[in-house]
């Protein structure tokens, strides 16, 4: 929990499952805690000092989505990435300056005897890579796949991205 304490002048902004957060406040640190098969797509414009992330659960919106529920595009990579891009450019980010980062997409359930569709992490990563390719955003770094959960932070002030797995120190992705 020690890393939950914001450093002086920092404000922790938790990005929960299915959420999209964009910020240009230099004190903001966007954090997605305990990513398993979920994937975080983070975009950052280093000139405008503007960034954002989505915390997506599935590669794409299921065809059998409950129609009674409101749209929730950030829960899905394919729908969430274009929305993140749109929110950032509306706030003043230049598409050509945006850098992309991916984290998560692990396979937590590794025991035998479970159906393959439960291993959604790999499909989340592939969908995110594809979404960035389609958007023409360069992928500058990723900490994806594997079998361990991760916590990822994006520092709006300078675009630093850190990733931590259990029992390890934070590592800089960018």
């Amino acid at each position: 929990m020690a890393d939950r304490v914001a450093a002086l002048g920092e404000r922790i902004c938790s990005v929960a499952i299915g959420e999209l957060v964009v910020s240009s406040s230099p004190e903001d640190v966007l954090v997605a805690y305990g990513l398993g098969s979920c994937v975080v797509v983070a975009l950052y414009d280093s000139v405008a000092h503007l960034g954002g992330m989505i915390h997506a659960l599935l590669p794409t919106m299921p065809q059998n989505k409950n129609p009674a529920l409101p749209e929730m595009p950030a829960r899905f990579v394919e729908q969430g990435v274009p929305l993140l891009l749109d929110r950032l450019t509306r706030r003043g980010a230049a598409r050509a300056r945006l850098q992309g980062y991916l984290c998560g997409g692990a396979r937590i359930l590794t025991a035998p005897g479970f159906p393959d569709w439960l291993a959604v992490g790999e499909r989340n990563v592939q969908a995110a890579e594809q979404a960035l390719r389609v958007a023409g955003i360069p992928l500058r770094g990723q900490a994806t796949r594997g079998t361990r959960g991760r916590t990822v932070k994006l520092y709006i002030a300078d675009g630093r991205i850190t990733v931590r797995t259990l029992g390890t120190e934070e590592e800089h992705l960018a």
Binding site: G18, N64, L69, I108, L109, P115, G149
Partner: protein, 206 residues
């Protein structure tokens, strides 16, 4: 509404089923007590609706290390079962299961994980047997999986089948604990939407 989810909602909201769940969990606790050689108590189960955006307030820090024992519920009704505890509680539980002096287990290796898996299997099997008998259903668990990781990563496993179906987790939450040792395990039971359930069956039998 999804037939599986509708079933779970109906049975969770009905008072008669609440009694049934409690009775079935009592059977599970009894079996677990016999397995570990001391009384395991089970709390009155609570039906919870937890919005995904409030998950962390309900569960605690998503980046904290936890141990999860996961099983699919298969048969006439699909569902998921997740037993959750801290690593310390899991090690004390392993002491009990492996007939060790309290405090002996210092890590969760192959033997300890196997014992925890067996405990999960026994608990959920006894619970399902009781529910199946009382309701005239065929229910059985998948093999158990023991996972040690950040809580958020463990919860991804049970949440993602519900993505697109709901903004909240509908679950039965109860606590198994020993009155004589520092063992406390949360047991969650969750619906499996019909669409996902057919995925399971296709993968298993296709």
């Amino acid at each position: 509404m999804d037939r599986q989810v509708a079933f779970w909602k109906r049975v969770m909201m009905g008072r008669e089923f609440k009694n049934l769940v409690q009775e079935a969990l009592g059977q599970a606790a009894g079996g677990l007590s016999r397995m570990v050689g001391q009384a395991v108590v089970i709390d009155v189960p609570r039906i919870e609706r937890v919005p995904l955006r409030e998950l962390e307030q309900y569960t605690g820090a998503l980046d904290s290390q936890m141990v999860g024992i996961y099983l699919l519920i298969e048969g006439d009704v699909g569902g998921q079962a997740l037993l959750l505890c801290t690593p310390l509680a899991a090690m004390r539980l392993a002491d009990l299961l492996l007939l060790r002096h309290p405090g002996t287990t210092q890590a969760l290796g192959v033997e300890e994980r196997s014992a925890l898996a067996e405990m999960g299997n026994l608990t959920i099997s006894l619970f399902l047997n009781e529910v199946a008998e009382m309701m005239g259903l065929m229910l059985y668990p998948s093999p158990p999986a023991v996972m040690v990781d950040m809580l958020g990563a463990l919860l991804d496993v049970v949440i993602f089948p519900l993505a697109g179906m709901s903004h909240e987790l509908l679950l039965v939450d109860t606590r198994l604990h020993s009155e004589t040792s520092a063992v406390e395990v949360h047991l969650w039971l969750l619906p499996m939407p019909a669409a996902r359930r057919s995925d399971v069956q296709d993968a298993r039998y296709g």
